[in-house]
């Protein structure tokens, strides 16, 4: 007769099964606890983040927002060749100036050399790759020499920054001069 060595004691198997089951349940519970509620709503990401992304404050506005209060400058800026230049580029973001429809702080005013630096960011001829048909570029200080003005003159002494040829046009009209290439 063959002897049976097979044990009839299954305690260790039960223990392992219990540990696995409890571990599994704990893992599922922990996953539920730590995963955000909307995770996986639309894909492998937190669905509610789509709403959160929209909560970012709009800090830069459009020129139209500025024109709502700054009426006189609107007429000049919109009529000139600088109409596509953003107010906020030179003056700073709207949100630093107006919050919830209320004035909060003054935006810094650009003066003297700051103005020249700003002008030359776009109009500097030395930096090539600026097509003449889209922007008028000048070389400094050759431009000043050519126009026979003092070499330390600032751009805004001849050019109205919001409409660069406004004063020049006015002066020409007063003196009865014609623009280059213009015939009577």
């Amino acid at each position: 007769m063959e002897k049976k060595y097979k044990s009839s004691y299954y305690g260790h198997v039960v223990k392992i099964a219990l540990v696995l089951i409890i571990g599994g349940v704990l893992a599922v519970m922990a996953r539920d606890k730590f995963l955000p509620e909307t995770m996986g709503q639309y894909g492998h990401y937190r669905g509610s983040d789509l709403k959160d992304q929209r909560q970012v404050a709009v800090r830069s506005h459009t020129n139209e927002s500025c024109y709502q209060c700054h009426r006189p400058i609107r007429l000049i800026h919109k009529a000139g060749v600088h109409k596509t230049v953003s107010c906020e580029f030179c003056h700073g973001p709207f949100a630093d100036h107006v919050k919830d429809g209320k004035y909060v702080a003054k935006l810094p005013v650009k003066r003297d050399m700051e103005i020249k630096t700003l002008c030359l960011r776009c109009h500097n001829k030395i930096i090539r790759a600026r097509p003449e048909e889209s922007i008028k570029v000048v070389a400094m200080p050759q431009h000043l020499e050519e126009k026979k003005v003092n070499i330390d003159h600032n751009c805004n002494q001849c050019h109205m920054v919001h409409d660069p040829i406004l004063w020049i046009k006015a002066a020409r009209e007063m003196m009865g001069l014609k623009m280059k290439g213009e015939t009577k």
Partner: protein
């Protein structure tokens, strides 16, 4: 008897409390301005976006950068920094200057990401310069984004309308996506230690506004619009014959950012 009195007292107190809080709240509401509605201050630039609360729009957005128009003024970089208060030294968008000399050697630089503009010419170029141009860079919003694929926690994802966004709360700052991006548009925000990148101004677009950089570009080198709209400018540009290309097409990411007149030196 005493009980009834108490009850009345209690009610009276509650009544006075209600009336007082009501009047105070009411007068406060009148004093504190609710702020003019967005419609009043900002005209809608992208039609049909405002007031749309659905998680995804029906639109297919595309971004076109006209390299031949860019003058390298850096308005876009300034607007971007203003909009997001991007920490110094990190750039969500930047402008590169390419200089090609007559020996076909290419020089690329981007001092401070173009944030201060280009005020000085490069002096270290030995040969006569043949051509110079500017290339603005930003998130390519790939059809098959590598960054989304590598994110271990599902913080970076692609929305059904094509935006690739980063969930600040989920991001653990491991930096996998920063390495995976073929266009190097991502950086680790040094303040909150999470990955950050250009979102094509998702919050503005959902309010019907153009991205901040598109809005300020003085020469209209940056264009943004809906490809499902047959009348939009980007649809016409991508439809009509132009020299259009994307950056690193060999990577197979299929960007939604297209460049008009892009030179082979850049690709």
């Amino acid at each position: 008897m005493i009980d009834i009195k108490k009850e009345i007292q209690k009610d009276r107190r509650a009544f006075i409390k209600n009336v007082l809080s009501g009047t105070i709240a009411g007068s406060l509401l009148m004093v504190i301005p609710a702020g003019a509605a967005l419609d009043e201050r900002l005209p809608e630039q992208l039609p049909g976006m405002r007031g749309d609360d659905s998680p995804f729009t029906e639109k297919k957005f595309a971004f076109v950068v006209d390299v031949t128009a860019c003058i390298g003024c850096g308005s876009c970089c300034v607007a971007d920094k203003n909009e997001y208060n991007v920490p110094d030294g990190n750039y969500r968008t930047w402008v590169e200057r390419y200089i090609i000399d007559d020996h076909d050697e290419v020089f690329v630089d981007s001092p401070n990401g173009g944030l201060d503009g280009y005020s000085k010419p490069r002096t270290d170029i030995p040969n006569p310069v043949r051509d110079t141009f500017f290339v603005p860079k930003l998130c390519n919003m790939c059809e098959k984004p590598s960054c989304v694929q590598v994110c271990p926690v599902g913080a970076t994802y692609k929305t059904e309308d094509g935006f690739i966004l980063v969930d600040k709360d989920r991001c653990v700052g491991c930096g996998y996506c920063i390495q995976a991006c073929p266009y190097s548009v991502r950086f680790l925000n040094p303040v909150n230690r999470t990955a950050e990148k250009c979102t094509w101004c998702y919050h503005r677009v959902r309010e019907g506004l153009l991205p901040a950089c598109v809005n300020v570009c003085p020469v209209h080198a940056r264009k943004f619009g809906d490809l499902n709209d047959k009348t939009s400018e980007v649809y016409k540009i991508l439809r009509e014959p132009h020299v259009i290309s994307v950056l690193k097409p060999g990577m197979g990411n299929q960007p939604a950012l297209h460049y008009l007149g892009l030179r082979r030196e850049v690709v």
